[in-house]
Symmetry: C2
Subunit: 203 residues, 2 copies
Amino acid sequence: MKLYNVPNPAPNPRRVRIFMAEKGLDLPLESVSLMTGEHKTPEFREKNSLGQVPVLELDDGTTISESMSICRYFEALHPAPPLFGRTPIEIANIDMWLRRVEFALMNPIGNVWRHADPRTAKIVKQFPDFGAANRETSFNAMRWLDRELGGRDFIAGETYSAADIAALCTLDFAGFIGLGIPEECDSLKAWHARVSARPSAAA
Amino acid sequence: MKLYNVPNPAPNPRRVRIFMAEKGLDLPLESVSLMTGEHKTPEFREKNSLGQVPVLELDDGTTISESMSICRYFEALHPAPPLFGRTPIEIANIDMWLRRVEFALMNPIGNVWRHADPRTAKIVKQFPDFGAANRETSFNAMRWLDRELGGRDFIAGETYSAADIAALCTLDFAGFIGLGIPEECDSLKAWHARVSARPSAAA
C-alpha cells in the first residue's frame, strides 16, 4: 500500500498524513509533481480520473481517492482512536461538522485561491470579482466558526476528530494565501493553537 | 424524532427522504417555508446556525443538520440495507463517489443556480459570468460521470448506495434549472432511468 502525496502547503494530502499520524500509521509516500503536471497525465488519471492528489493505492492495484475517503478506509481498518465517532450521534455530529467545515469554510477559501490568487491565474480561468468577494465570505465563515466553538475544545465537541483535521488544514492553507484568522476570533485562535500543538500537526 | 423538510425541487431534503424510503423508515415531516424566510429566523438558527434545511430533531432536542450526516445517523441505527458500505473498501469507495458527485457535479450545478438563475437574483449577490461558465463545467461533469459509469449499474459499483441518491437528487435539480443530461450520455441516461424507477425516487 502506498500514498501518492504532495508536500505542504497542499491541504488535502496533509489531511491524510495528519490522520495517519493520529492513528500511528506509517506508509510509503510517493511524491507527485504538480509543477510538471504529473497529476494530469493519462498514467495518473488511471489512478484518479479527476487528476487529483492524494490517492491511496492498495497492493492489488485498487485505488482510493478523496482525502477523507482514504481516512475513512483507515478508520474502518484501525478503529482506535476513533476519529469519525463511535455511536450513531457521534458519527452524525462529526460528519456534520466535517461537512460544515468543507462547505461553509473550505469552499470560499478555495474560491479565493482559484479566482483571486496570482499563482493560479495561469492554470485556471479566473473570475477575479467572484474570487475577491469570497475573501469576506471566508472571514465571515471564520467568525461563525469562532462563535460556534465558544468554550469547547474541539470542532465537534470535547474530542479531537476528523473535523479538526479538516479545519486545521483548511485554515493553515488560508493563512498561506493571506486569509489569516481575524484578530477578534479568540476561540478560533485558541483552538488553532491547541490542535497545532499536537505532534500530528507536523505531518 | 422529526425532520424539518422542504418539498421538491429542493435537492437536499429529498436525499434524506429517499434514504429513509430505501431503509423503510417513516418519520413526521415538518415543513419549513423558504418563501417567508423561516429557515433564516433566530428560532430556526437555534436548530441549525447555518439556516439550512433539512434538520433532524431528536426527542431530547438534539439537532443534526447536513443531509448526508442525517443519513449516516440512520445508517448507524439501521444498518440494513447498507447504503454507505460494510467492508473497509466498500465504505471508502462509496464515500469517494459521494464526494466526487458533490464536489465535481453538484458544486458547478449549484454555482449555475446561485449565480446565473433569475430565481436567485433577488436573494444572493450574483456573479453572472461565473455562473454562466459553470454551465459548461456542469455538462462536462455529466460527461465525465457517463464515462465512469460505463457498463456498471450504479455509481459506486454493482450495488445501489448513498452516492446514487446524491447523484439522482443533483441531476433532477439540474434538470429543473435547465441543465439536462447531454444527449450523448447513454450510460448516465440509462443509470438515471434505473434509479428513477425505484419506488424511493418518488420521495
